[in-house]
Amino acid sequence: MTAALRPSISACPACVAAPGAQALAEQALHKDAHIALSLPTIHCSACISTVEKALAAVPGVRSARVNLTLRRATVEADPAIMPDQLVKVLEGAGYEAHELDAGTLSVTQNDRAGRDLLMRMAVAGFAMMNVMLLSVAVWSGATDATRDLFHWISAAIALPTLAFSGVPFYKSAWAALRARRLNMDVPIVLALVLALATSLWETALSGHHAYFDATVALVFFLLTGRYLDHRTRAIARSAAQELSALEVPRAIALRDGAEVQLPVSELRIGDLILVRPGGRMPVDGVIAEGRSEIDRSLLTGETLPVFAEPGRAVSAGEVNLTGPLTIRATAVGRDTSLHRMADLVAIAESGRSRYTSLADSAAKLYAPGVHILSALSFLGWYFYSWDVRTALNIAAAVLIITCPCALGLAVPAVTTAASGRLFRKGMLIKDATALERLAQVDTVVFDKTGTLTAGTPELTNLAAHDKGEAAVALALAEMSSHPLAVSLANAARAAAITPAEVADLTEVPGYGTQGIWKGQPVRLGRAAWTGATPGAETTAWLAIGDAAPRAFTFTDRLRPGAANAVQHLMRQGKRVILISGDTEPVVAALATRLGIAEWQADALPADKAARIADLQAAGHHVLMVGDGLNDTAALTAADVSISPASALDAARVASDIVLLGSDLEPIGDALTTAQSAIRRIKENFRIATWYNIIAVPVAVIGLATPLVAALAMSLSSITVSLNALRLK
């Protein structure tokens, strides 16, 4: 990497005239040269020191720190250091490394909300322990002045604690009330305020019962539930962001004849952009120079590469296969077809938010019920005894006892356990309600290319050719890095065929390779170029002299675990459907291979989404598994969606669950895990309900002392958490 490849820091021409500004900008960059690297294979303490030493030994690197939990290294270095350099150094040291886009990652680095919750939880926990110590003394028989003193000290601890730790609940309850709704937090806040007010009043009148311990314990348990919930989602979010950050948005532009590496966001319409073989088109454009083949499978689902020559339009997201291409940008940034597709997703998304989670529907029943109950017991006791103090005490006791400790833990404890279990199997749950929606699924729709198949071709008819032909084909194939050629060469080598002696080997980008064998011209490549008539299958043609061209046909290799996943789903009685944008024979062949009875070929993106909408209208709950841009609308339309890690960024964003490995097998398990998780959540709700059925009458008739409240609250919370841990 040379200085010429680095982007100029200031983009404005005036800044060039003012070198001071340039120097300033340079300095600012100096401070901020963070490089983040993903290290998927590190696992031990030796790895940490090897990686850190290898990085620190590179001149220009100021410091390097490995984070083993995130499997990531952060490097601070001179701006002259390019990430590729460090990746090479680490590969030399024996570790796989990938550059991460620091801009995409920065959001995860300081998880402010998580830290905030943790602080509030710690304060509540500390206060709870201290207040409980004092309360134990009261329960075991402290009287008179001692009891009053202990109550006052408890109040002195509980009041500031509640003011600090309860903030998330006050905020959420206030937001709900302003929108004229009731959520779980409204009764919680009411219970806290009422219990605190009556306890202070009782303490001032040197009464027997004060609920300071219960209020603080309540806040602690609820914050625990909330923190668990937050952490599960934060882990998923950071892993998802890491996937996005792996695609560093950088392109090589030709400016005044020099190659300049630029962030994709800085490309302008009319720029000439160089796309190397294997690279992805950063923008929409027209090919200005070069011949090659383009893989459009991520956009359309077609497996056959398309021939590319000057004048042909290309869209962002397509992959260049053989020769270098120079394209002139016609649409950049938000105007590219990639982004327009992603915008379509946003429209479909509004349908998703209609789903109400189990916790929300429980809260809808719960919140008004609790309020009515406590109001009734206040009125009942007031008209029975004409004593506001007793009536208020009992109303507070009812609110405290019914307060949803167990309800607040019931869902997060189970989802944390289930998400952790699926994460270990290589599945990332991005959405909080994804598990609930997954449990309802009865129909599974698969995309073909890149989802059920790996997107790498596999030679099918090597045996149909004699040794001589195969040897010539091998010699020609080894010249090229085209996926078909590589696959042909691998298959031939595996069959112990040695390459024939072919002279004058040359590759013609976009067409194939040619040479001279035994005085005859030989060619391996596209149908038209070799004089053959193209068929529906993926085929490379071999022409020897004037003889009729020989066909080498390929099929797309199945993704590992695809067959098992489909069988597993069918055994569970799910309806499995294959919908692809690819041609009919290819889709039909794959469907028979996997035993899928229902399939649809030549589907446009809108067809896929429409088919899913039809299924939903017929009362089915649909799981969509897909990876391409042509699937994004379907992924959002479906009740719940899964995409593999290799999927396009837009598809991963649109789906609820991301498969981290290349294996599809966890999908079957995910459905079972989701179902058992929902069973546990419902069990937990039942436990919480039973607990209320027993505890509420006790509170209403005025027998609930602070000791009873503390016991009941802890007992139900612990039962619910233990039940969540039973999830296997």
Binding site: S45, L68, T69, R115, A122, F126, N130, I153, I157
Partner: protein, 52 residues
Amino acid sequence: MEVLSYLIPISLLLGGVGLVAFLYTVRSNQYDDPEGDARRILNKDWDDHPKP
């Protein structure tokens, strides 16, 4: 019972010290890499003298 007058402040103080220590560890990012920190302790790198 006079013992309470200094035992209670002491117990509150000790709890408070624990809380402050916890808040300090959270603020100084000590929970960012629990797995790595558990392994680093076995590292021989800075056994003889502290990291400069």
